[in-house]
Amino acid sequence: MNEKGIATPLVLGIPLGLLMGVGLFTFGYARGYSYMTDDPGACNNCHVMHEQYDGWLKSSHRKVAVCNDCHTPRGFVPKYFTKALNGFNHSLAFTTGRFPDRIQITGRNERVSEESCMKCHEELTEGIQASRAHNEKVHCTTCHQSVGHAH
């Protein structure tokens, strides 16, 4: 599968206006505005997010973290930039149907969700991180892959 979001020449070739139109259509149709809230139900507006939503409901983090705690970075601007970028990407993907059945997290978002663990677990893991260089921190999801949602 190489249908991974907008970075394909075909999609880039679509006139901007049409793109906006599609985006806006989806924005309303799939309640894209919900991207602006932190309500996990909002992510679940897209049925393709059901699996993660269901997984999250059963996960150890249901009571302590919502989707955006893990899928957006710290800080107001980075957080809303990420939301906008993902909102756009997902809406487009959803509308065009160009994405794999088994959704795979992509590079940037993987880093975001890795780093998000530190929002809450920095102190606990300070010791195991301290002996490592800055670009070599422990990858939490090697071991804790299903904390947010069992797949």
């Binding site: 393709v48 059945d101 795979q104 892959q145 797949h151």
Partner: protein, 433 residues
Amino acid sequence: ERKQEARTPFFRVVELTDDQDDPALWGKNFPLQYDAYKRTVDMTRTRYGGSEAMPKAPTQADPRDKVSQSKIDEDPRLRRMWLGYAFSVDFREERGHAYMLVDQRNTRRVTEFKQPGTCLNCHASTYVFMKKLGGGDVTAGFAKMNQMPYAEATQGVKHPVACIDCHEPESMKLRITRPGFLEGIKALKASQGVADYDPNRDASAQEMRSYVCGQCHVEYYFKGDEKRLTFPWHKGLKAENMFDYYEEVGHKDFVHKETGAPVLKAQHPEFEFYSQGIHARSGVACADCHMPYKREGGMKISDHHVRSPLLNINRACQGCHHFSEQEMKDRAEQIQLRFMEARNIAMDALMDLIEETKKLREAGAADNDLKRAWAAQRKAQFFIDLVEAENSAGFHAPGEELRVLTTALDEIRKGQVSLRGVKPAKVQTKQAD
């Protein structure tokens, strides 16, 4: 409208009864499943699986315009292993379900040899046919079908495995329609201390996702004069268990032409090996990999285009494994490569044993002096054939399949050692033979 679709999964366009075996009719209610089902005509090769379309001129006798590659040509050791049996005449790579009936009708194993109706069990939609033959009683019909000559029985069916063979028409629940499997799994469960097991009553939904396949993708033989389809599971599913069963009932499939050994032929024990693998142990079913869920519009359906999962890695593997498609392919192929290496070593060793026995026999060795070597051939050949016939090239149970090969190799070694003292006495009688 995608949203709409999601809410009403079953459009009841036609009313289905338990006597309609035409998949096109069922397809009216379930067009997505039917469309995928029809795509089992596709032929694509993977490194060790799938199948390759070899164009062929259709003839009166064999109307097929393409067949899959011949395995006995690709690996002549197979032909030699089966000398004296129909498989040495024609044996091809298996392909999609759409071909099962036409491939059976036209294999030289059917056109040049006499076969019983039993063959049909796994190559056609036989449910309605068996029900009719038995006057409503499928098991009675099964017994009748088995005893018919193949040429006659095959007139009674029209379709390859169809919806009705796996599904109840009203609820679409999975069900077991094949008496061969019902009897086999019952014997297996009995050996594990579970009395009177009936999968249609006792199996979990997840188990059914493998059992429906286990009706056909299994080792079997034709028992007695009634040619009853029988799975040798009475002592368990391991290679040793099946071999012990055949020893006990004294079954042989053929006498090896070169060595005179009474040997067995193994066929597609996918279910048996899968059952001993890490995936079965983790609760993963055949359908999880070979019919993974796919998104069609707003619906998630089971992909009825049954095929090699390596042609469909994103859906088949990445739901559970968080590695790239390429990496998952490489992992599967690493397992297969290791298997093929060991399998080739064992196959060569078997050829050595056959060659040696043959030479001594030609030179006039007494049967009695060859007994140990025959026993070795019988067991080793069955073990090698089992993992060879298991169509995943070692993937379904990587460790178990290699263990089976070490046992085969040891048996061959002992067989060859047993020939050490043999003095071919009656060199003259050989000519007469």
